[in-house]
Protein backbone atom coordinates (compact mmCIF):
# COMPACT_ATOMS: atom_id res chain seq x y z
CA UNK A 1 0.00 0.00 0.00
CA UNK A 2 2.89 2.33 0.89
CA UNK A 3 4.41 1.46 -2.50
CA UNK A 4 1.38 2.88 -4.27
CA UNK A 5 1.60 6.13 -2.26
CA UNK A 6 5.27 6.54 -3.28
CA UNK A 7 4.42 5.89 -6.95
CA UNK A 8 1.52 8.37 -6.86
CA UNK A 9 3.83 10.93 -5.19
CA UNK A 10 6.53 10.39 -7.84
CA UNK A 11 3.97 10.64 -10.63
CA UNK A 12 2.63 13.88 -9.17
CA UNK A 13 6.14 15.39 -8.86
CA UNK A 14 6.92 14.29 -12.42
CA UNK A 15 3.72 15.85 -13.68
CA UNK A 16 4.42 19.12 -11.89
CA UNK A 17 7.92 19.40 -13.35
CA UNK A 18 6.62 18.80 -16.88
CA UNK A 19 4.26 21.79 -16.63
CA UNK A 20 6.81 24.56 -15.93
CA UNK A 21 9.44 22.86 -18.14
CA UNK A 22 7.05 23.16 -21.10
CA UNK A 23 6.55 26.85 -20.34
CA UNK A 24 10.28 27.51 -19.80
CA UNK A 25 11.11 27.74 -23.49
CA UNK A 26 9.38 27.39 -26.82
CA UNK A 27 11.44 26.76 -29.93
CA UNK A 28 9.90 28.92 -32.66
CA UNK A 29 12.39 27.87 -35.33
CA UNK A 30 15.72 26.06 -35.59
CA UNK A 31 15.65 26.53 -39.38
CA UNK A 32 16.10 22.83 -40.00
CA UNK A 33 12.72 22.31 -41.69
CA UNK A 34 10.79 24.05 -44.44
CA UNK A 35 8.42 25.86 -42.01
CA UNK A 36 8.88 27.05 -38.45
CA UNK A 37 8.46 24.68 -35.51
CA UNK A 38 4.96 26.00 -34.79
CA UNK A 39 3.80 25.25 -38.33
CA UNK A 40 3.59 28.97 -39.13
CA UNK A 41 4.52 30.63 -42.40
CA UNK A 42 7.84 32.46 -42.74
CA UNK A 43 9.04 34.70 -45.53
CA UNK A 44 10.65 37.98 -46.42
CA UNK A 45 8.53 41.11 -46.79
CA UNK A 46 9.65 43.69 -49.31
CA UNK A 47 8.53 46.97 -50.81
CA UNK A 48 10.57 48.14 -53.78
CA UNK A 49 13.12 49.47 -54.28
CA UNK A 50 14.35 47.75 -51.07
CA UNK A 51 15.02 44.03 -51.30
CA UNK A 52 15.62 41.01 -49.05
CA UNK A 53 16.37 37.35 -49.55
CA UNK A 54 16.02 34.65 -46.87
CA UNK A 55 17.50 31.18 -47.31
CA UNK A 56 17.51 28.23 -44.94
CA UNK A 57 21.07 26.97 -45.11
CA UNK A 58 23.17 24.19 -43.56
CA UNK A 59 26.42 26.16 -43.67
CA UNK A 60 27.98 26.75 -40.22
CA UNK A 61 24.85 26.74 -38.05
CA UNK A 62 25.16 27.68 -34.39
CA UNK A 63 23.63 24.37 -33.39
CA UNK A 64 21.95 21.47 -35.13
CA UNK A 65 22.03 21.34 -38.88
CA UNK A 66 20.34 24.49 -40.13
CA UNK A 67 20.36 28.29 -39.92
CA UNK A 68 18.69 31.24 -41.61
CA UNK A 69 20.63 33.59 -43.88
CA UNK A 70 19.03 36.98 -44.60
CA UNK A 71 20.53 39.23 -47.24
CA UNK A 72 19.14 42.77 -47.27
CA UNK A 73 19.40 45.89 -49.38
CA UNK A 74 17.51 48.78 -47.75
CA UNK A 75 17.27 51.84 -49.97
CA UNK A 76 16.87 55.41 -48.74
CA UNK A 77 14.90 56.82 -51.67
CA UNK A 78 12.16 55.79 -54.09
CA UNK A 79 8.98 53.84 -53.47
CA UNK A 80 6.06 55.01 -51.31
CA UNK A 81 6.62 58.46 -49.74
CA UNK A 82 10.09 58.36 -51.37
CA UNK A 83 11.30 56.56 -48.24
CA UNK A 84 13.06 53.76 -50.11
CA UNK A 85 10.45 51.08 -49.44
CA UNK A 86 11.07 48.50 -46.73
CA UNK A 87 12.39 45.00 -46.23
CA UNK A 88 12.72 42.32 -43.58
CA UNK A 89 11.76 38.81 -42.58
CA UNK A 90 8.82 37.51 -40.54
CA UNK A 91 7.77 34.23 -39.01
CA UNK A 92 4.21 33.60 -37.81
CA UNK A 93 3.79 32.36 -34.24
CA UNK A 94 0.03 32.22 -34.56
CA UNK A 95 -1.21 28.88 -35.87
CA UNK A 96 -4.15 29.21 -38.24
CA UNK A 97 -6.63 31.51 -36.50
CA UNK A 98 -5.09 30.84 -33.03
CA UNK A 99 -2.81 33.49 -31.59
CA UNK A 100 0.07 32.42 -29.38
CA UNK A 101 -0.40 32.93 -25.65
CA UNK A 102 3.12 33.91 -24.54
CA UNK A 103 2.24 34.93 -20.99
CA UNK A 104 4.53 32.19 -19.64
CA UNK A 105 7.59 33.67 -21.36
CA UNK A 106 9.81 36.62 -20.54
CA UNK A 107 11.96 37.11 -23.63
CA UNK A 108 12.68 36.34 -27.27
CA UNK A 109 16.11 34.84 -27.79
CA UNK A 110 18.09 33.82 -30.85
CA UNK A 111 21.65 33.38 -32.00
CA UNK A 112 22.90 35.89 -34.54
CA UNK A 113 26.02 36.95 -36.41
CA UNK A 114 26.81 39.19 -39.37
CA UNK A 115 28.76 38.31 -42.52
CA UNK A 116 31.01 41.35 -42.06
CA UNK A 117 30.04 42.66 -38.59
CA UNK A 118 28.34 46.01 -38.10
CA UNK A 119 25.07 45.01 -39.76
CA UNK A 120 21.96 46.28 -38.04
CA UNK A 121 18.26 45.53 -37.58
CA UNK A 122 15.42 45.77 -35.09
CA UNK A 123 13.08 43.02 -33.90
CA UNK A 124 9.39 43.48 -34.63
CA UNK A 125 6.64 41.77 -32.64
CA UNK A 126 2.93 41.85 -33.45
CA UNK A 127 -0.23 40.92 -31.61
CA UNK A 128 -3.82 40.78 -32.94
CA UNK A 129 -4.04 44.59 -33.15
CA UNK A 130 -0.77 45.05 -35.03
CA UNK A 131 -1.53 42.13 -37.32
CA UNK A 132 -4.77 43.86 -38.32
CA UNK A 133 -2.78 47.00 -39.05
CA UNK A 134 -0.20 44.99 -41.01
CA UNK A 135 2.75 46.22 -38.97
CA UNK A 136 4.64 45.43 -35.76
CA UNK A 137 6.07 47.13 -32.68
CA UNK A 138 9.82 47.54 -33.02
CA UNK A 139 12.61 46.98 -30.50
CA UNK A 140 15.67 49.18 -30.24
CA UNK A 141 18.63 48.37 -32.56
CA UNK A 142 19.81 44.78 -32.04
CA UNK A 143 23.11 45.81 -30.43
CA UNK A 144 21.25 46.74 -27.26
CA UNK A 145 20.33 43.07 -26.77
CA UNK A 146 23.75 41.55 -27.52
CA UNK A 147 26.62 40.94 -25.07
CA UNK A 148 29.05 42.62 -27.52
CA UNK A 149 26.83 45.71 -27.96
CA UNK A 150 26.82 45.20 -31.75
CA UNK A 151 26.68 42.52 -34.41
CA UNK A 152 30.01 40.85 -35.13
CA UNK A 153 31.09 37.91 -37.26
CA UNK A 154 30.91 35.66 -34.17
CA UNK A 155 27.71 34.04 -32.92
CA UNK A 156 26.11 35.94 -30.03
CA UNK A 157 22.90 35.25 -28.18
CA UNK A 158 20.36 38.08 -28.50
CA UNK A 159 17.98 38.43 -25.56
CA UNK A 160 15.04 40.77 -26.17
CA UNK A 161 12.71 41.11 -23.14
CA UNK A 162 9.03 40.87 -24.07
CA UNK A 163 8.48 43.94 -21.89
CA UNK A 164 10.26 45.92 -24.63
CA UNK A 165 6.99 45.71 -26.55
CA UNK A 166 3.73 47.17 -25.25
CA UNK A 167 1.53 44.42 -26.67
CA UNK A 168 -1.08 41.91 -25.70
CA UNK A 169 1.31 39.06 -24.93
CA UNK A 170 -1.65 36.67 -24.74
CA UNK A 171 -2.27 37.08 -28.47
CA UNK A 172 1.02 37.12 -30.35
CA UNK A 173 0.92 36.89 -34.14
CA UNK A 174 4.48 37.14 -35.48
CA UNK A 175 8.15 37.92 -34.92
CA UNK A 176 10.03 39.97 -37.50
CA UNK A 177 13.56 41.09 -38.36
CA UNK A 178 13.29 44.62 -39.77
CA UNK A 179 15.94 46.59 -41.65
CA UNK A 180 14.69 50.12 -41.01
CA UNK A 181 16.23 53.08 -42.80
CA UNK A 182 16.84 54.97 -39.55
CA UNK A 183 19.38 52.28 -38.57
CA UNK A 184 21.79 53.22 -41.32
CA UNK A 185 23.88 56.41 -41.60
CA UNK A 186 22.34 57.72 -44.84
CA UNK A 187 19.27 55.49 -44.88
CA UNK A 188 20.97 52.96 -47.18
CA UNK A 189 22.01 49.63 -45.69
CA UNK A 190 23.19 46.39 -47.28
CA UNK A 191 24.43 43.24 -45.62
CA UNK A 192 23.94 39.62 -44.68
CA UNK A 193 23.04 38.24 -41.27
CA UNK A 194 22.69 34.70 -39.96
CA UNK A 195 20.13 33.62 -37.36
CA UNK A 196 19.65 30.35 -35.48
CA UNK A 197 17.45 28.91 -32.73
CA UNK A 198 14.68 31.51 -32.39
CA UNK A 199 12.98 30.88 -29.06
CA UNK A 200 10.63 32.26 -26.45
CA UNK A 201 12.05 31.77 -22.97
Amino acid sequence: MKHWKVIIFLLAVGQLSVGPACAESLLVDDFEGAVNKLGGRSNTYVMEPSRALAVRSKENPHGGSGLLMIKYDKKAKGGPYDSGGWCGYYTMVKTGPRYLDATGYQKITFWVRGAAGGENFVVGLSDRHWEEVGDSVKSEPIGKYLPGGKLTTEWQKATVPLSTFMLDIKELASVAVCFEGSLFPDGNGQGTIYIDDLMLE
Binding site: V122, H129, K138, M166, S182
Partner: protein
Protein backbone atom coordinates in the same frame (compact mmCIF):
# COMPACT_ATOMS: atom_id res chain seq x y z
CA UNK B 1 -49.24 90.45 -59.70
CA UNK B 2 -47.08 92.55 -57.42
CA UNK B 3 -48.30 90.54 -54.43
CA UNK B 4 -47.56 87.30 -56.28
CA UNK B 5 -44.06 88.51 -57.05
CA UNK B 6 -43.51 89.41 -53.39
CA UNK B 7 -44.73 85.97 -52.36
CA UNK B 8 -42.35 84.32 -54.83
CA UNK B 9 -39.51 86.42 -53.51
CA UNK B 10 -40.48 85.48 -49.96
CA UNK B 11 -40.52 81.77 -50.85
CA UNK B 12 -37.18 82.18 -52.58
CA UNK B 13 -35.85 83.93 -49.47
CA UNK B 14 -37.07 81.09 -47.26
CA UNK B 15 -35.52 78.52 -49.57
CA UNK B 16 -32.20 80.36 -49.61
CA UNK B 17 -32.10 80.87 -45.86
CA UNK B 18 -33.27 77.30 -45.36
CA UNK B 19 -30.53 76.07 -47.64
CA UNK B 20 -27.96 78.24 -45.90
CA UNK B 21 -28.98 77.00 -42.50
CA UNK B 22 -28.96 73.43 -43.83
CA UNK B 23 -25.41 73.73 -45.07
CA UNK B 24 -24.45 75.36 -41.79
CA UNK B 25 -26.04 72.44 -39.96
CA UNK B 26 -23.98 69.99 -42.02
CA UNK B 27 -20.87 71.97 -41.29
CA UNK B 28 -21.66 72.42 -37.61
CA UNK B 29 -20.11 69.16 -36.54
CA UNK B 30 -18.02 66.34 -37.94
CA UNK B 31 -17.57 63.22 -35.82
CA UNK B 32 -14.04 62.01 -36.50
CA UNK B 33 -14.40 59.04 -34.17
CA UNK B 34 -16.79 57.85 -31.47
CA UNK B 35 -14.78 54.62 -31.01
CA UNK B 36 -17.86 52.45 -31.46
CA UNK B 37 -16.20 50.62 -34.36
CA UNK B 38 -12.73 49.24 -34.95
CA UNK B 39 -9.75 50.63 -33.03
CA UNK B 40 -7.80 50.78 -36.31
CA UNK B 41 -10.33 52.74 -38.39
CA UNK B 42 -12.11 56.00 -37.54
CA UNK B 43 -15.61 57.22 -38.49
CA UNK B 44 -14.21 58.78 -41.66
CA UNK B 45 -13.01 55.33 -42.73
CA UNK B 46 -9.37 56.29 -42.30
CA UNK B 47 -6.57 54.59 -40.41
CA UNK B 48 -5.91 55.12 -36.70
CA UNK B 49 -3.14 53.62 -34.58
CA UNK B 50 -0.35 54.34 -32.14
CA UNK B 51 3.03 55.61 -33.29
CA UNK B 52 6.10 54.41 -31.44
CA UNK B 53 9.85 54.71 -31.47
CA UNK B 54 11.60 52.50 -28.91
CA UNK B 55 12.33 52.62 -26.05
CA UNK B 56 9.07 54.56 -25.61
CA UNK B 57 5.91 52.50 -25.89
CA UNK B 58 2.18 52.92 -26.42
CA UNK B 59 -0.84 50.74 -27.05
CA UNK B 60 -4.55 51.27 -27.64
CA UNK B 61 -7.62 49.29 -26.81
CA UNK B 62 -11.37 49.90 -26.87
CA UNK B 63 -13.13 49.86 -23.48
CA UNK B 64 -16.73 50.25 -22.37
CA UNK B 65 -17.43 53.12 -19.99
CA UNK B 66 -20.14 55.52 -18.91
CA UNK B 67 -19.33 58.96 -20.30
CA UNK B 68 -21.27 62.16 -19.55
CA UNK B 69 -24.96 61.12 -19.49
CA UNK B 70 -24.11 57.90 -17.70
CA UNK B 71 -24.97 55.60 -20.60
CA UNK B 72 -22.23 53.12 -21.39
CA UNK B 73 -20.37 53.54 -24.66
CA UNK B 74 -17.09 52.49 -26.16
CA UNK B 75 -14.09 54.71 -25.51
CA UNK B 76 -10.46 54.66 -26.56
CA UNK B 77 -7.86 53.67 -23.97
CA UNK B 78 -4.31 54.84 -24.70
CA UNK B 79 -1.56 53.42 -22.50
CA UNK B 80 1.85 55.08 -22.80
CA UNK B 81 5.35 54.85 -21.43
CA UNK B 82 7.47 57.82 -22.50
CA UNK B 83 11.17 57.38 -21.80
CA UNK B 84 13.65 60.24 -21.68
CA UNK B 85 16.85 58.36 -22.56
CA UNK B 86 17.84 55.80 -25.18
CA UNK B 87 16.73 55.55 -28.78
CA UNK B 88 17.53 58.12 -31.50
CA UNK B 89 19.57 61.09 -30.18
CA UNK B 90 19.26 59.51 -26.72
CA UNK B 91 15.92 61.34 -26.39
CA UNK B 92 13.97 58.28 -25.29
CA UNK B 93 12.14 57.73 -28.57
CA UNK B 94 8.56 58.89 -28.94
CA UNK B 95 5.01 57.63 -28.63
CA UNK B 96 1.43 58.70 -29.21
CA UNK B 97 -1.77 58.01 -31.10
CA UNK B 98 -2.93 59.29 -34.47
CA UNK B 99 -6.13 59.24 -36.48
CA UNK B 100 -6.10 60.23 -40.13
CA UNK B 101 -8.38 62.91 -41.55
CA UNK B 102 -7.05 62.43 -45.08
CA UNK B 103 -8.40 59.59 -47.19
CA UNK B 104 -6.00 57.22 -48.92
CA UNK B 105 -5.46 57.52 -52.67
CA UNK B 106 -8.22 55.81 -54.65
CA UNK B 107 -7.27 53.12 -57.17
CA UNK B 108 -7.91 54.04 -60.78
CA UNK B 109 -9.25 51.38 -63.16
CA UNK B 110 -6.84 50.51 -65.97
CA UNK B 111 -7.84 51.30 -69.56
CA UNK B 112 -6.45 50.25 -72.93
CA UNK B 113 -4.67 53.61 -73.21
CA UNK B 114 -3.37 53.52 -69.65
CA UNK B 115 -2.98 49.91 -68.46
CA UNK B 116 -1.04 50.94 -65.31
CA UNK B 117 -2.68 54.13 -64.05
CA UNK B 118 -1.30 55.94 -61.04
CA UNK B 119 -3.65 56.00 -58.01
CA UNK B 120 -5.60 59.23 -57.53
CA UNK B 121 -4.18 61.73 -55.04
CA UNK B 122 -4.89 61.54 -51.31
CA UNK B 123 -7.92 63.57 -50.25
CA UNK B 124 -7.20 66.01 -47.43
CA UNK B 125 -10.02 67.18 -45.17
CA UNK B 126 -11.36 70.68 -45.72
CA UNK B 127 -11.98 71.84 -42.15
CA UNK B 128 -12.30 75.53 -42.94
CA UNK B 129 -15.94 75.43 -41.73
CA UNK B 130 -14.96 74.34 -38.21
CA UNK B 131 -13.64 76.36 -35.30
CA UNK B 132 -12.51 73.82 -32.72
CA UNK B 133 -11.47 70.27 -32.09
CA UNK B 134 -13.30 68.76 -29.13
CA UNK B 135 -13.24 65.44 -27.30
CA UNK B 136 -14.03 63.89 -23.95
CA UNK B 137 -11.02 62.83 -21.90
CA UNK B 138 -9.98 61.49 -18.51
CA UNK B 139 -6.86 60.02 -16.94
CA UNK B 140 -6.46 56.79 -15.03
CA UNK B 141 -4.80 58.58 -12.09
CA UNK B 142 -5.05 62.25 -12.97
CA UNK B 143 -1.30 62.89 -13.33
CA UNK B 144 -1.20 62.15 -17.06
CA UNK B 145 -0.35 64.76 -19.67
CA UNK B 146 -0.20 65.17 -23.44
CA UNK B 147 -0.44 67.66 -26.27
CA UNK B 148 -2.55 67.53 -29.41
CA UNK B 149 -0.82 67.47 -32.79
CA UNK B 150 -2.54 68.60 -35.98
CA UNK B 151 -1.08 68.21 -39.44
CA UNK B 152 -1.94 69.63 -42.84
CA UNK B 153 -0.55 68.59 -46.23
CA UNK B 154 2.81 70.25 -45.51
CA UNK B 155 3.31 68.66 -42.08
CA UNK B 156 2.06 65.34 -43.42
CA UNK B 157 4.86 65.34 -45.99
CA UNK B 158 7.37 66.19 -43.24
CA UNK B 159 5.99 63.33 -41.12
CA UNK B 160 5.26 65.52 -38.11
CA UNK B 161 2.55 67.83 -36.74
CA UNK B 162 2.08 71.21 -35.10
CA UNK B 163 1.54 70.81 -31.36
CA UNK B 164 -0.96 72.47 -29.05
CA UNK B 165 -0.15 73.61 -25.53
CA UNK B 166 -0.53 71.10 -22.68
CA UNK B 167 -4.00 69.54 -22.58
CA UNK B 168 -4.81 71.19 -19.25
CA UNK B 169 -5.11 74.56 -20.98
CA UNK B 170 -8.16 73.29 -22.88
CA UNK B 171 -9.95 71.63 -19.96
CA UNK B 172 -12.42 73.21 -17.50
CA UNK B 173 -10.42 71.92 -14.51
CA UNK B 174 -7.10 73.13 -15.93
CA UNK B 175 -5.65 69.61 -15.84
CA UNK B 176 -6.53 65.99 -16.50
CA UNK B 177 -8.44 64.32 -13.69
CA UNK B 178 -10.01 60.91 -13.24
CA UNK B 179 -13.38 62.45 -14.23
CA UNK B 180 -14.50 62.94 -17.81
CA UNK B 181 -14.05 66.50 -19.10
CA UNK B 182 -14.62 68.05 -22.49
CA UNK B 183 -11.47 69.38 -24.13
CA UNK B 184 -12.01 72.26 -26.56
CA UNK B 185 -9.04 73.25 -28.68
CA UNK B 186 -9.57 76.20 -31.04
CA UNK B 187 -8.22 75.39 -34.49
CA UNK B 188 -6.46 78.76 -34.55
CA UNK B 189 -4.03 77.34 -31.97
CA UNK B 190 -2.44 75.68 -34.99
CA UNK B 191 -0.87 77.78 -37.73
CA UNK B 192 -1.67 75.41 -40.59
CA UNK B 193 -3.85 75.16 -43.72
CA UNK B 194 -7.30 74.14 -42.40
CA UNK B 195 -8.49 73.47 -45.95
CA UNK B 196 -6.09 70.51 -46.19
CA UNK B 197 -5.95 68.66 -42.88
CA UNK B 198 -4.16 65.31 -42.74
CA UNK B 199 -4.34 63.99 -39.18
CA UNK B 200 -4.91 64.51 -35.47
CA UNK B 201 -2.57 63.06 -32.88
CA UNK B 202 -2.24 62.65 -29.13
CA UNK B 203 1.42 63.18 -28.35
CA UNK B 204 3.23 62.25 -25.14
CA UNK B 205 6.08 64.73 -25.57
CA UNK B 206 9.17 64.30 -23.43
CA UNK B 207 9.03 67.93 -22.28
CA UNK B 208 5.80 67.20 -20.44
CA UNK B 209 7.37 64.81 -17.96
CA UNK B 210 10.23 64.81 -15.45
CA UNK B 211 13.16 62.36 -15.74
CA UNK B 212 13.24 59.42 -16.35
CA UNK B 213 9.86 59.73 -18.10
CA UNK B 214 6.29 58.83 -17.36
CA UNK B 215 3.86 55.98 -17.79
CA UNK B 216 0.11 56.41 -17.74
CA UNK B 217 -3.27 55.65 -19.24
CA UNK B 218 -5.79 58.06 -20.69
CA UNK B 219 -9.30 57.52 -22.05
CA UNK B 220 -10.79 59.47 -24.96
CA UNK B 221 -14.26 59.58 -26.52
CA UNK B 222 -16.16 61.54 -29.17
CA UNK B 223 -13.45 63.23 -31.18
CA UNK B 224 -15.32 65.94 -33.06
CA UNK B 225 -14.66 68.98 -35.25
CA UNK B 226 -17.12 71.73 -34.30
Amino acid sequence: MKGFKSARLFVLFLMVTGYLSLTAAFAAQLVVDDFEGSETKNKLGNRANVFIKAPSKAMVSIREEAVGSGQKSHVLMVRYEKKKAGGPFDSGGWCGYYTLLKSPPALVAPTADDPNPKPAEEQYLDASGYKALTFMVRGEKGDENFVIGLSDRHWDKVGDSVKSQEIGKYLPAGKLTTQWQKATIPLDEFFIDYAQLAGISVVFDGDLFPDPGHAGTIYIDDLIME
